[in-house]
């Protein structure tokens, strides 16, 4: 665990937040570009989402007559809770003191807080789209959350800690050993990440077809800076899940000291890992079709079973060893 009294380590937290804020739109753009290439298009430049955000921030925000204060407060709550969530994961260094403020379970709680307000905002205007999106989002998240926590528990029971830095440190110290529990947990967490970030085959971030959308339906009424905050939060969440996957299960490259060289190497390593993950996601989204809504529970049951198997195999095969 990182030293809580080291000011240099604390300085890393705002730096990490800034890196996330810039990196998340870039990652989204990177995925979009690769999807374009795979579909024989040129695809937009990776920094297109950043341009979109700038454009949206400069635009006027429209709010429906029927909307209440919840509608106007929700983008800030969603953005703030997601921003907090990205501050407490080990990103370029395992010496991340903010992980002591909030552990993995709190991370799940932050995401749940953002989702709660997102869903409320969907209900606020009183259009059918918003309600539909909220209803579906809450179903998906209700089924995804136990799977997510089972994966978290597998990691936590291995490292005897729910602190994300400690878990990454433990995995780093263990070296590359193939453990069935981690394999199951990783697979389960990938499925959860796909569902929670609204990617194909659970949701399609590119669609505005009423009957199929989940996330887009909830933010349909947003415009201007409100929409920008919502979009940004969604991109942050995508990158957050990516970082969780690559840094907890493949922690190699994370800086173990606070020297500039080590931090730079850590940044390079995580960027390379995320770029690879983004390409894999683009390939997955190209070859898969979106599922019917009522197939999603089966998909998430699979995720839950995988993570449960991971936990049980940890308890039966690995614990006490």
């Amino acid at each position: 665990m990182a030293d809580l009294l080291n000011p240099a380590a604390w300085l890393l937290v705002p730096v990490q937040a800034l890196l996330f804020l810039v990196g998340a739109p870039l990652l989204a753009g990177w995925i979009r570009q690769w999807k374009g290439r795979l579909q024989n298009r040129r695809g937009p430049a990776p920094w297109q989402p950043l341009r979109d955000l700038r454009k949206l921030f400069a635009k006027e925000a429209l709010v429906a007559h029927s909307a209440s204060t919840v509608f106007r407060a929700a983008p800030y709550v969603v953005f703030a809770s997601t921003l907090l969530a990205v501050c407490i994961v080990p990103f370029i260094s395992i010496l991340q003191p903010a992980t002591a403020i909030a552990d993995m379970i709190v991370l799940v709680g932050f995401l749940a807080l953002g989702r709660f307000f997102l869903a409320l905002a969907g209900m606020d205007v009183g259009s059918s789209f918003g309600g539909m999106g909220s209803s579906r989002e809450m179903l998906v998240s209700a089924l995804a959350e136990p799977a997510m926590l089972m994966a978290v528990f597998t990691l936590a029971m291995s490292a005897h800690s729910t602190n994300l830095s400690t878990v990454a440190e433990y995995n780093l110290a263990q070296g590359l050993v193939l453990r069935p529990s981690y394999l199951f947990a990783l697979l389960g967490l990938v499925l959860v990440a796909v569902a929670e970030t609204g990617r194909i085959p659970v949701d399609n971030p590119a669609t505005h077809l009423e009957l199929t959308m989940i996330h887009e339906a909830m933010i349909l009424e947003y415009s201007g800076r409100h929409l920008a905050l919502m979009e940004w939060a969604a991109q942050l969440k995508l990158m957050l899940y990516g970082v969780l996957l690559v840094n907890l299960f493949f922690p190699w490259g994370l800086a173990q000291t606070l020297s500039p060289a080590a931090l730079l190497a850590g940044l390079m390593a995580v960027a390379a890992k995320l770029a690879a993950l983004g390409m894999a996601l683009a390939v997955g989204e190209t070859v898969l079709a979106k599922m019917r809504l009522f197939r999603v529970p089966l998909f998430l049951n699979l995720a839950f079973l995988l993570t449960l198997l991971g936990l049980l195999s940890h308890i039966i095969l690995e614990a006490g060893a």
Partner: protein
């Protein structure tokens, strides 16, 4: 420690005075506002002071009241456990005292305020007595008084048949539960030497008799607490009482049952056994999950909240079960963690469920509707109630930085320590119950998005909802107190875990030395390496992130928002009927968890040729458990009826035969 006990006795006197003063309230309704409610509030303030005093200066104070049997006066005792529950009763009661005068105006013309005040006062008195009682006799008398007083409050508006039916079901199940508790005490008293709790503690009954006593107590207290499958009375009885009484029943009375269970199992029984803990854990997890699933299917606001009580009592019992398993396996420090988690959730549930019931009462007061399908858009008309209700919704959904999250986090931390256990089955069972807890939490969030979205957001769905008005200052203040407490317990958990720590010290002889070792900022239940949570910093960071986002945007070129119509796809404007309904919102979840419900769904055309969709979701346990038991009871009754020919000679014959048999037995 004697000072808190004197305060508690003063509270008893004030509560009784409030009940007596209420007798004149029918002639002078003023009296209800000017005397009955302030006395009730005074009693609760004294209770809060007594409870906090008892927790801050742990020790044991005793008193004897000259009541009861000639050879067994009522023994009272105030220790840390009792003090905690007194404080809990006090804080919810205080909010209720602020709220009640405004809410009771509704009843001035039509109902009897005397009945309301009398039984509310007696209800409070009896709950305090249950918590203070130190012998089985006083405990059972107070327990029965509590059941009876609340029965009269449930049937307060007895002109509705449904309320009378709910009251009867409640009374029936309360009495069956009380019988089981009585038998449980009987086992302890029979093997010990008397009805005083001290004698039972000395006897420390364990083994087979201990298990029998445990089963009886679990049944009896579980029935009062509303654990599945003994919960059927709860969603019937709680919603029909006046809303502030619902807050007392759900927020406080269920907790008194939890108190009884803790007192019985952790204090009076002998050595803890792992199997008891496993039973409690499994029943708790099933209650939590089924409670929230049934809650999702409701569209009556108060009934929905009542089902959530089943869920939250389940979560409390998960914590208690963990504590019992760890205590039985010889890990007192982890048992202390489980117990603190359970107690933390107990106070949390009292606060946010009290708050939500008061909020539901305000909505009922403003719209005279309980059906959510006829509400909508209330946030604009009831801004304060809407704000406080939102706090309650966030708290009960276990979202940071509010209080519900802290106790669920503690429960998860306790469950994650399962690796310490030897037994492989236990090690796998505990994480599975934790997964059920996670599912419960996520479904609760879904349910409260539904509740808040349908009730307070969107457009009004009926005329009463359009004409709603904000409630009186007292009613808002009552909710505000509880909302502030929810935030306080969420943001400063270390202070409260420090206070609660005296209870495991009393019951298990073990404190949580590490919980606040890192100072008030850091909650580290096991140790700093294993897990830490800094709620004050989380709260500050959340506020900072919000402020930064808002500040950065304020500097942008466009500040104003423009009001416009909602997107209607270019067709006619949106009408309230186009909104998602509560039933529609829950439809995907109803479909996924379909086999757990008995669903009756039909379509028909009414006289005007309009299509009508009818949907009823029933509790499967009715047909699986209650109806068979009811039928068996009727059959047994008929069979016994054969003995009763109505002829005096036959009765005399039976008496003679019984006497003979008894004589033969003892000779």
């Amino acid at each position: 420690m004697t000072a808190p006990l004197s305060l508690a006795l003063g509270a008893l006197a004030a509560a009784l005075l409030s009940a007596v003063a209420a007798l004149a309230a029918d002639e002078r309704p003023m009296l209800f506002r000017a005397l009955v409610s302030p006395l009730f509030g005074l009693a609760c303030a004294l209770l809060l002071a007594a409870g906090l005093g008892g927790l801050l200066h742990p020790g044991v104070a005793r008193a004897t009241l000259p009541l009861g049997l000639p050879w067994l006066h009522w023994h009272l005792r105030l220790d840390a456990l009792a003090a905690f529950f007194l404080a809990l009763i006090g804080v919810v009661g205080l909010a209720v005292a602020l709220y009640a005068p405004g809410y009771a105006r509704e009843f001035e013309k039509r109902e009897s305020l005397a009945v309301l005040g009398l039984f509310t006062g007696l209800f409070l008195t009896s709950m305090v007595l249950v918590v203070l009682a130190d012998d089985a006799f006083a405990f059972m008398v107070a327990w029965e008084l509590m059941s009876l007083a609340s029965y009269f409050l449930v049937t307060f508006q007895h002109e509705h048949g449904a309320n009378r039916r709910a009251g009867f079901l409640y009374l029936l199940m309360a009495e069956i539960g009380a019988l089981a508790i009585l038998l449980g005490f009987g086992v302890l008293a029979g093997l010990g030497d008397g009805f005083a709790f001290d004698a039972m503690r000395r006897a420390a009954v364990g083994g087979g008799w201990g298990t029998l006593a445990f089963v009886l107590a679990f049944f009896g207290f579980g029935m009062k607490a509303g654990l599945v499958p003994l919960h059927a009375w709860l969603p019937e009885a709680h919603p029909v009482a006046p809303s502030h009484v619902s807050a007392l029943m759900s927020g406080v009375m269920l907790k008194v049952a939890v108190y009884g269970f803790i007192r019985f199992c952790f204090d009076l029984l002998g050595d803890m056994q792992i199997s008891w803990g496993v039973a409690v854990l499994v029943v708790g997890a099933v209650s939590a999950l089924l409670g929230v699933l049934y809650a999702l299917m409701q569209h009556d606001l108060k009934r929905l909240l009542a089902y959530h009580s089943v869920e939250n009592v389940g979560i409390i019992f998960i914590g208690l079960g963990l504590a019992m398993v760890f205590a039985g396996a010889g890990f007192p420090a982890l048992a202390a963690l489980g117990l603190v988690a359970a107690l933390y959730h107990t106070i949390n549930h009292a606060l946010f469920k009290g708050l939500l019931f008061l909020g539901a009462g305000s909505v009922l007061h403003a719209t005279h509707q309980r059906d959510m399908e006829r509400m909508g858009g209330l946030l604009k008309l009831l801004p304060w109630t809407g704000l406080f209700f939102l706090v309650g919704c966030i708290s009960i959904s276990a979202l940071p930085p509010f209080n519900g999250f802290v106790s669920e986090w503690l429960t998860f931390q306790a469950a994650l320590q399962a690796w310490a256990l030897e037994n492989g089955i236990l090690r796998s069972l505990i994480p599975v119950t934790a997964a059920m807890l996670a599912l419960t939490g996520a479904l609760a969030a879904a349910c409260f998005v539904k509740v808040y979205g349908v009730t307070f957001l969107g457009q009004p769905r009926s005329t009463p909802a359009r004409k709603a008005h904000e409630v009186s200052f007292g009613m808002r203040a009552g909710q505000g107190v509880l909302a502030a407490a929810c935030l306080l317990l969420g943001v400063l958990p270390t202070f409260f875990t420090g206070l609660l720590d005296t209870v495991p010290g009393l019951l298990l002889g073990q404190h949580l030395p590490q919980a606040t070792a890192g100072g008030w900022l850091w909650l580290t239940p096991v140790n700093a390496h294993t897990a830490s949570y800094s709620a004050p910093l989380v709260f500050a960071a959340l506020a900072l992130a919000w402020w930064l986002a808002a500040w950065a945007l304020r500097r942008g070129a466009v500040r104003q928002v423009r009001r416009c119509d909602a997107w209607d796809c270019g067709f006619s404007p949106l009408t309230p009927r186009m909104q998602y309904s509560a039933t529609g919102f829950a439809q995907p979840i109803r479909r996924v968890f379909g086999p757990l419900f008995r669903i009756e769904e039909s379509m028909s055309r009414d006289e005007e040729g309009l299509l009508r969709h009818r949907l009823q979701v029933h509790d499967r346990l009715w047909e699986w458990l209650y109806l068979p038991v009811g039928r068996a009871a009727l059959r047994a009754g008929r069979w016994v009826g054969h003995l009763q020919g109505g002829n005096a000679r036959i009765y005399l014959g039976w008496t003679l035969a019984t006497l003979g048999a008894l004589l033969w037995l003892i000779s």
